[in-house]
């Protein structure tokens, strides 16, 4: 492949045949970014050209309820994740207690479990017919009161348990980056431990906590599976209903654009909350805080709190899924199409991962070689999809694909005199396109991050040592970015497997993946049947969390080594 160096000069080892009159990378990068950004642009354009009939209909039927539900859900989940995530981060960075080293990364693992999985497990577990209530009735008689899990409180509980790791991870990083001497300075000025937390550590970590909070709320807004089986009406549920219930794509698009507006508002709020102060550490070499040993009941309380969270968000769901899976396996009506769903899932996941990494390489090299603002803007637009709910992307994909199908059929009728069929919307192409629009940011970021390791002087060194541009790519770049490419592929692959709403809205008729199967069973309250596909998704979801945990633990190790101090 020609790099810019090839076209730009140095004829010593240059291949004249590879020289092009223009730079191919920026053009390619721009083109890829534009294609991937199409769905987003479609939804945005429907926001600026609203259809008044549909809006007034939506207003009369459900709009107020949707907005109210979305706002309360954001506030509830936001409050929950900040409390839980920040508290646990402070606990594990500043204190030593039994099991801290294990909890430190066990607490990240709930990220691996999609919200709809914990959602349906909790629903099945705490429901009227579930083991908890049945057991209580057996002991205390039939009149015993128990809170209804399928309620606002239940949704908030489930989403808090699933999404707190975003805040936990970012707050933890922020606390670890704070210098021990900054906290000591506060104590020398008369502040107690609690005052140090409120007056110094927390304000310093605020930008990170707000970033984690906004990620968590974005996930909450994007969730479909949980809110749907809890009967809590939000935008994703409404989009699904008007799409499949009423076949009203226009209304779905309008709802999607409103959901997009919410996401945008969230982003704006996050920006403004960061405030004016730029939180540099002014020191050259920061010594990270040394944890304090907890003793007696405090130590056990800390372990107990961490165990409760890990138990509720990880052990209970996974354990219950195992029990249900085994029960389902033993029964005669075992879902014998399970291998087919796994294969389908692997196909869409694998295809998307490969395409996403390829597209990311094009965009990343385009950015690196051109330094053009246009290309940079394209890259940012293409990455925006990650912040958008799958339902919005799905709506944005369907409109252009339906147009392409119509155009293709019109052409087919002219050429062959017959319909061409649904070439785009009827195949997994649309699905892969939607996944790409939603998850490209993951692969772009990992590829870009690994390309940073390749400095321009390495290119020059390689060329001066006699390598051709292709040789530079093969022998210098590829070995250095291989790890990044793999990580990017895994991240995309796993997120595709977990994605429910976009899959439901765009899958070709009869094409079923694991996530689709989980939805089909849970929407009918067949918890046991849903367990095996759900367990498979959870197992795949552990992959990126393990990658994350490894790098996170590594940063902690660096910190412990650095904490020796001067005598």
């Amino acid at each position: 492949m020609p790099t810019r160096q090839a076209s730009a000069a140095v004829p010593v080892t240059g291949h004249p045949a590879l020289r092009l009159p223009w730079d191919p990378w920026p053009l390619a990068a721009g083109a890829v970014a534009l294609v991937v950004a199409t769905p987003i642009l479609v939804v945005v354009s429907s926001l600026v050209t609203p259809s008044l009939d549909i809006w007034s209909h939506l207003w009369q039927t459900q709009l107020l309820e949707l907005i109210w539900n979305t706002l309360t859900l954001s506030v509830g989940v936001g409050g929950g994740v900040v409390l839980l995530g920040t508290g646990l981060a402070w606990l594990t960075t500043m204190y030593r207690f039994p099991g801290r080293a294990v909890f430190e990364w066990l607490l990240i693992l709930p990220l691996a479990v999609p919200a709809y999985v914990i959602g349906f497990v909790f629903r099945g577990f705490f429901d009227y017919t579930g083991p908890v209530q049945s057991g209580l009735r057996r002991v205390f008689g039939p009149g015993i009161w128990f809170p209804d899990i399928a309620s606002f409180g239940g949704v908030v509980l489930v989403m808090t348990l699933v999404f707190y790791p975003y805040v936990y991870l970012l707050a933890r990083m922020a606390f670890l980056e704070q210098s021990e001497t900054t906290l000591e300075a506060a104590r020398a000025l008369g502040a107690r431990r609690t005052a140090v937390f409120w007056r110094v550590a927390l304000p310093l970590a605020r930008p990170s906590i707000v970033a984690g909070l906004s990620l968590a709320v974005m996930e909450a807004l994007a969730d479909f599976g949980t809110v749907a089986i809890y009967g809590y009406n939000t935008f994703t549920v409404a989009i699904y209903r008007v799409w499949f219930g009423l076949f009203n794509r226009q209304a779905a698009t309008e709802l999607a654009s409103l959901l997009l507006l919410f996401t945008g508002a969230l982003y704006a709020i996050e920006r403004s909350w960061r405030g004016r102060a730029r939180f540099y550490q002014t020191e050259r070499k920061a010594r990270p805080p040394a944890p304090t040993m907890l003793t007696g009941w405090r130590a056990w309380a800390a372990s107990g709190a961490a165990s409760a969270v890990v138990g509720g968000a990880l052990l209970l769901p996974v354990g219950q899924l195992l029990v249900w899976s085994v029960t389902a396996l033993g029964e005669a009506d075992f879902d014998d199409r399970y291998p087919e769903f796994v294969l389908n899932t692997l196909i869409v996941g694998g295809t998307t991962a490969i395409v996403a990494v390829g597209a990311a390489v094009v965009i990343a090299y385009g950015l690196r070689l051109s330094h053009s603002r246009v290309v940079a803007a394209c890259g940012r637009i293409a990455s925006m999809g990650y912040a958008l709910p799958g339902s919005v992307i799905a709506v944005g994909v369907l409109v252009p694909l339906a147009f392409l199908d119509r155009a293709y059929n019109a052409l087919a009728r002219v050429v062959w005199g017959a319909d061409g069929g649904l070439l785009f919307t009827g195949s997994i192409a649309g699905l892969v396109f939607a996944y790409l629009a939603r998850f490209l940011a993951l692969s772009v970021h990992t590829v870009e991050a690994s390309l940073v390791k390749v400095t321009p002087s390495m290119d020059m060194a390689g060329r001066s040592l006699g390598l051709s541009p292709g040789g530079v790519l093969r022998r210098i770049h590829l070995p250095l970015i291989r790890g990044g490419l793999c990580t990017g592929a895994i991240l995309v692959f796993v997120d595709v497997i977990k994605e429910m709403p976009a899959t439901l809205l765009l899958r070709p008729f009869g094409y079923e993946t694991l996530a689709v199967r989980v939805w089909q069973f849970t929407s009918e309250s067949f918890w046991e049947a849903a367990a095996l596909p759900a367990l498979t998704i959870v197992a795949a979801g552990m992959l990126p969390v393990l990658i994350l945990a490894r790098s996170s633990v590594r940063s902690r190790q660096g910190r412990d080594e650095g904490a020796g101090g001067e005598g």
Partner: protein, 350 residues
């Protein structure tokens, strides 16, 4: 009256290693500035952190203003000690302005007093125009002034400074030495300053304590430390020192460059090593002299010469910049020590 009293303070970080701080005892009078000087790993920072309350001593007692802060039973936390501290990296709070940083420790005061105090401190350190800046918008010297003002604002009985000048450029450092010294003197603050720079210690301190491997080797005025070092380590650490073998006789201490006064009062007959500072060594150009100039470093105001004696021993000498001696020239060596310092010889001389 004693403001700070430390007795037998000991701290071990690893059970089987040497203690980081071993049996340190010292008292500070009100208004006194004491520098703890030593190489890295000598225990000076540990001593400071024990006084501040960031570490708990394994043995020993810390008493500040008559109140026991740490002993076998009690260990008052740092926030309860009323001790100000200036950190090596300043440790300013990056999310607070200069003004808010200085006001941080003034929570218990009412807002009016607090405002007065902050403005007073800003004026003292000359940062009034920068009150609403954030720390990262300041230069290194300004950051240090904020750190000093923040530590002094609550009017602590005792101020601890941990290598406060080591992050500054050379020019700025000299200026800040003087400024900090003036401010501390003006406010009459008692201070303990930890440093590895002997010039700095001599410049700002009333008394200097030399630490080596956790032990206090000597505590005394800068002049005492420099001219009458108690150990070879102190002699070498606070300036250039050469050691010449000598033998105590009835007349004094006989050395290769002449007989020196037996001011330490050593018994006749013992073998010693006499410490000589370069500024005590005079060189007189003399073609028949017993010493030969090896090297000459011209340093502007003076020259530093190394001469070799007949025995092969080398000694350093400071000479005026007008000196005409060059490498290869011969000279006569005369010693004029203000106070003869001799240590018992560690090995027999041939």
């Amino acid at each position: 009256m004693i403001l700070l009293s430390i007795t037998h303070l000991t701290k071990r970080f690893t059970p089987h290693d040497l203690p980081a701080l071993d049996d340190l005892s010292l008292d500070a009078e009100p208004g006194e500035i004491i520098a703890l000087l030593g190489p890295s790993g000598s225990g000076k920072t540990t001593a400071l952190r024990l006084i501040a309350g960031f570490e708990k001593p394994d043995a020993g007692v810390v008493v500040i203003s008559g109140k026991t802060m740490a002993d076998r039973k009690t260990c008052v936390p740092p926030e309860g000690r009323g001790v100000g501290m200036v950190f090596q990296e300043y440790a300013l709070f990056p999310h607070l302005t200069v003004e808010e940083n200085i006001a941080f420790g003034l929570r218990p005061l009412d807002p009016r007093t607090r405002g007065h105090r902050v403005h007073g401190m800003l004026e003292t350190v000359g940062l009034t125009p920068f009150a609403s800046r954030y720390p990262h918008e300041l230069s290194g010297g300004q950051q240090q002034r904020v750190a000093l003002a923040r530590a002094l604002a609550p009017r602590p009985a005792l101020l601890l400074l941990d290598e406060p000048f080591s992050n500054l450029d050379a020019d700025m450092m000299v200026q800040m030495h003087l400024e900090v010294y003036t401010i501390l003197r003006e406010l009459g603050t008692t201070a303990i300053c930890v440093t590895h720079d002997q010039e700095e210690a001599f410049m700002i301190a009333d008394r200097v304590g030399i630490l080596n491997q956790g032990r206090l080797e000597q505590l005394g005025s800068p002049e005492e430390i420099y001219h009458r070092p108690a150990t070879r380590f102190v002699a070498r650490f606070v300036g250039k020192a050469d050691f010449l073998p000598g033998r105590v006789t009835d007349e004094g201490i006989a050395t290769e460059i002449g007989t020196l006064l037996n001011t330490p009062g050593l018994p006749a007959g013992v073998q010693v090593e006499v410490m000589l500072r370069p500024d005590h060594i005079e060189l007189i150009p003399d073609p028949m002299g017993s010493a030969m100039v090896l090297t000459r470093q011209f340093r502007g105001p003076d020259n530093l010469l190394v001469v070799q004696l007949r025995s092969g021993a080398t000694i350093h000498s400071h000479q005026p910049s007008t000196l005409t001696l060059h490498p290869g020239d011969r000279a006569k060596v005369v010693a004029h020590p203000t106070h003869v310092v001799a240590f018992l010889a560690t090995k027999p001389w041939l």
